[in-house]
Every structure is written in structure tokens, then in C-alpha cells.
């Protein structure tokens, strides 16, 4: 490890290529913290939005008129407004309003929590759409068969439709989730210490913006590449034989 940091230090002094995160412990900490928070934001909002997607799809399938209208309005609002402004709205306006309404002295949710909430709601809207088209692609014959077997609507959804719809929606889901991981960088604006934030702290101090940008691009390409490969594996494993492109 010592030699690695020495290598990068000399890289800086002789060639002016400053990758301070490898030899400066403060910067390395900032960067590692950034990776942790990006992972946290990504994982939390991925699972949260999947959950929302399933619930939304179920409400659209089996909900009453009110529930359907509510889900539809939710999708409309969150798909047609910029995620950055949604984030600002939640953290700077809604958060303090809720805090003062409940009369608490400390804010009810931290900036990290609000980032997760905002990202989950944003991606959830897209996921509901994807799941909905997946649900619609399940053949009516299958649903009728389930009905004739005496399964309730809820059982039909959970045990018959959802597994099929999930597999059908995987490509679209992959797209949405990749988008979500990219959107976690928005949290920089509310000072969540994720990867971009950490990198910007380093470059405003060490003035090595170019090097940090390259590192960021490499890291994100690697992370998303890894994620897409994982999703590809899942897709292959779950593929229904004889369905779609299989």
C-alpha cells in the first residue's frame, strides 16, 4: 500500500497528474465515503422504487376508482417534473413544513433520507409504468384460468401475474434502474456526501478537476456496467422458456 501511494505521489510531482485520492488519506476518506453513500442511495431507492412499482401496478390492476386516479396522478406528477426540483422541493420546502407542522425542533428527515425519499418516488413512477405494461402483457387466458381455479384477485396478482410480469418487464426495469443510479448524483445539490460530492471536495481543494472527473467517469461506467451485467444474469436465469426472445 505504501508503494502505491508513493507511486501516485511521484505521478503528481513529475507529471502533474494529481490523483490525490490515492496518496492523501483525507481525500481517500472523502472518496470512500462517497462510494458508500452512492451505494446506499442506489440500493435504498432501487428497492424502494421496486416496492412502489409493485404496489402501484397492483392498485392499477385491482384498485378502486380513487386508488387508480391517485396512482395515475402520482405518475403524472413525478414523470413530468424535473427530479432536481423535486429534490429541492422535498428538502427545502416540504421538509421544514412538516417539521414545523409536527412541532419538532430537529428536522424529521436528514438530507440523505430526503434524497432517498425523492429518488424512490421519482423512480417508482417509472417502475409503475413498466410493471403496468408487463401486467398487461400477461395473456388474458392465463388470468381467466386463475380465476376459474377460484383464486382471488389478490392471489392471482401475487402468484400468477407478478412473477410473469416481472420477467417480462426486466429490460424496461433495467433501463429505469440504471437511470436511477445515474440520478443519485443529483443528491450533490443537497450536500449528500455521495461520490460526486466527494470528488468535488477533493478538486476544489487540490484543483485537480480533470483527474477527478476521469476517475468519476470510470467508476460510474464500472458500477453501471456491473449492474447491467447482474441484471443480464437475472434476466437469463428467470427467462421463461418459449417466451419473448428466449
Amino acid at each position: 500500500m505504501e508503494t502505491v501511494s508513493e507511486l501516485f505521489r511521484t505521478l503528481n510531482t513529475t507529471y502533474g497528474f494529481d490523483l490525490s485520492i490515492f496518496y492523501d488519506s483525507y481525500d481517500a476518506d472523502l472518496f470512500t465515503r462517497g462510494m458508500y453513500f452512492t451505494a446506499l442511495l442506489s440500493a435504498a431507492s432501487v428497492f424502494g422504487s421496486l416496492f412502489l412499482g409493485v404496489i402501484g401496478a397492483y392498485l392499477q390492476f385491482n384498485g378502486g376508482v380513487v386508488a387508480r386516479k391517485f396512482v395515475s396522478a402520482y405518475i403524472q406528477v413525478f414523470r413530468n417534473t424535473p427530479p432536481l426540483i423535486q429534490l429541492y422541493f422535498f428538502f427545502f420546502s416540504l421538509g421544514p413544513s412538516l417539521t414545523s407542522a409536527t412541532g419538532m425542533s430537529e428536522p424529521i428527515l436528514s438530507n440523505v433520507a430526503w434524497a432517498i425519499v425523492s429518488l424512490t418516488l421519482y423512480a417508482g413512477a417509472f417502475n409503475i409504468e413498466v410493471f403496468r405494461s408487463g401486467v398487461e402483457a400477461v395473456p388474458a387466458a392465463t388470468i381467466e384460468a386463475a380465476d376459474s381455479l377460484g383464486l382471488s384477485k389478490r392471489q392471482t396478482f401475487l402468484q400468477i401475474i407478478l412473477p410473469l410480469a416481472f420477467r417480462i418487464s426486466l429490460p424496461g426495469l433495467n433501463n429505469n434502474l440504471v437511470n436511477l443510479i445515474k440520478t443519485t448524483t443529483n443528491a450533490y445539490a443537497i450536500a449528500v456526501p455521495e461520490l460526486l460530492y466527494g470528488a468535488s471536495q477533493v478538486w476544489s481543494d487540490k484543483l485537480n478537476a480533470l483527474e477527478m472527473m476521469i476517475v468519476l467517469l470510470i467508476v460510474y461506467t464500472a458500477v453501471i456496467g456491473l449492474f447491467t451485467w447482474m441484471m443480464g444474469c437475472i434476466e437469463r436465469n428467470l427467462a421463461v422458456p418459449g417466451w419473448g426472445r428466449a
Partner: protein, 274 residues
């Protein structure tokens, strides 16, 4: 005889030529375009902030206006933030930076500070009265808001270990402070002083109990390779004149800043050096 005479003349010319200051690309550009572009802050009252008409006003825009007048050109103010001001100067987007820029060695390597410096500020903490912060050490582990790109962020974090939450601009940081996301705001002492005096009622629950640390002079900056040119010279003359004539002291009073020892000191030095 003739040979050595020619040699001496040549030597003389070379020496004088060596002392003659390098041509200034920026100064040529300014004179040709008839405008000087100066980077100023828009969220740091009273040094640079917006009025309702959307115009940038403040002490530093006034200084920029004076520079433009002395150079005989028009002024174009370019809004900058702590996180991008250095890049703007390096890229040539601005010809001059008067944007509450602290002086440190890291920055000396990439931009040209005009000496004498025009102001000085120190790190200060605006904190909630009920947070119980009595000394700098008390901020360890607490949530402190700050602005991205400020030079003392790293220093303070390394010394006292707070959980620094750095926002892209002063406005967001202040909003976060007011809405309780953090207990304090780490910034320059002059910003705190002017905030508290401009709007005492809003900041009634806050105080600045800690002694100002790490006094740092502020400098006007030009691009690094302009430092030794005619442009750099002219800027140095202007700042010296400001100190000597008391222009900066009168500006300080006009914008309701607390009178600083630094400026009085600098004026005395400028007059003595004459």
C-alpha cells in the same frame, strides 16, 4: 575597442529588454474589446449580492467599477461561485476576479494574486444559541453547514472533526441552517457580521460565540501568466492606490462593514512606502 563597445550596447539592450515587462495578452484584449470582465459573488452580502432588479451590487462590484474607470473601459460583471471562480479565471472567462478569494499556497500555484491584498477575513461559525457550542472543539461530530469550494472547509474539518455538509451556494447553506438541518454555518467572519447586522430579527436565535480563526487575507486575482505583465503591474498600482487614498476604508464604511484593523494597517503601510 569597437567590438567590446557593441558587446556592451548589446548587453545593455538585453538587460533593459529583460526588465521591460512582458506584453499582456489580457490587457490587449481588454483594450481592444473596450470591456473588462470581472468575476464577482452574488450571494455574499455586502461584498456581492443581487437587488430586486436582478443587478449585482456590493463592495466588490464597486471596486470592479473603479478598476474599469481607471482602465478607461466598460465593466462586465460575471457572477461566480466559490466552486467555479478559479476555473473561470483559468479558462479566461473572466479577466479579473474580485470574489472574496482567500489567499493560500495551493491557489498561488494556479492563479496570480495581486499584492497588496485588499481585505482579510477569518473562519467563523454562526451557530444556534441552544446548541451549546462554547469552543471550536465542541463542534466535533456535529452537523455544520458550509459552502462548497471554501478554503477553510478542509482545514476546519481536519482540526476539529465536525460533520461538514457543504452546499453548492451560500443560499442553500443558509436555508438548511434556518430549517434545522445543521446547527451551524461555517463561513467567513465578514459574511456573518453583515448577515447579523442586516437582518437581526431573522438571526435572533443564532450567535457567533467562537473566536475568529485562521485569519486569511483576500486577494484580487488575475491569470497566473499575467502576474508579471503590464496588466499585473497596473492592477498592483490600483490596489496600492486604493489603500493609500483610503478608498477601501471609505467603501468599508459605505457598505456598513465593521471597521477592520487590517485596512487601517494596510493604509499606514502604503503611505509609509511612498
Amino acid at each position: 575597442m569597437k567590438k567590446s563597445f557593441t558587446f556592451l550596447v548589446a548587453l545593455a539592450i538585453l538587460t533593459i529588454g529583460g526588465y521591460a515587462h512582458a506584453q499582456s495578452v489580457v490587457l490587449d484584449r481588454i483594450k481592444k474589446a473596450g470591456t473588462i470582465r470581472v468575476g464577482v459573488k452574488t450571494d455574499f452580502p455586502p461584498f456581492g449580492f443581487l437587488n430586486p432588479a436582478g443587478q449585482v451590487i456590493g463592495l466588490e462590484p464597486d471596486m470592479a467599477q473603479d478598476v474599469a474607470k481607471r482602465l478607461g473601459v466598460k465593466l462586465e460583471l460575471v457572477p461566480v461561485q466559490s466552486s467555479n471562480r478559479i476555473e473561470f479565471l483559468q479558462q479566461g472567462r473572466i479577466d479579473l476576479m474580485i470574489a472574496t478569494l482567500g489567499v493560500n499556497d495551493q491557489r498561488r500555484k494556479v492563479l496570480g494574486y495581486i499584492e497588496p491584498f485588499y481585505y482579510a477575513g477569518g473562519t467563523s461559525l454562526l451557530v444556534r444559541k441552544d446548541a451549546g457550542i462554547k469552543r471550536w472543539e465542541d463542534i466535533k461530530g456535529r452537523d455544520i453547514c458550509a459552502t462548497q469550494g471554501a478554503s477553510y472547509n478542509r482545514l476546519t474539518t481536519q482540526k476539529y472533526g465536525p460533520n461538514l455538509v457543504a452546499f453548492p451556494g451560500n443560499t442553500e447553506a443558509l436555508n438548511a441552517l434556518l430549517t434545522g438541518s445543521c446547527i451551524g454555518f461555517l463561513q467567513d467572519s465578514t459574511l456573518h457580521a453583515s448577515m447579523l447586522s442586516m437582518d437581526a430579527s431573522k438571526w435572533a436565535a443564532f450567535e457567533t460565540p467562537l473566536p475568529v480563526e485562521d485569519f486569511q487575507p483576500w486577494g484580487i486575482a488575475v491569470a497566473l501568466d499575467e502576474l508579471g505583465t503590464a496588466y499585473g503591474d497596473q492592477m498592483r498600482q490600483i490596489v496600492t492606490e486604493w489603500h493609500r487614498s483610503g478608498y477601501l476604508l471609505s467603501m468599508e464604511k459605505q457598505w456598513a462593514l465593521k471597521p477592520s484593523e487590517f485596512l487601517k494597517d494596510m493604509q499606514a503601510r502604503a503611505i509609509k512606502a511612498r
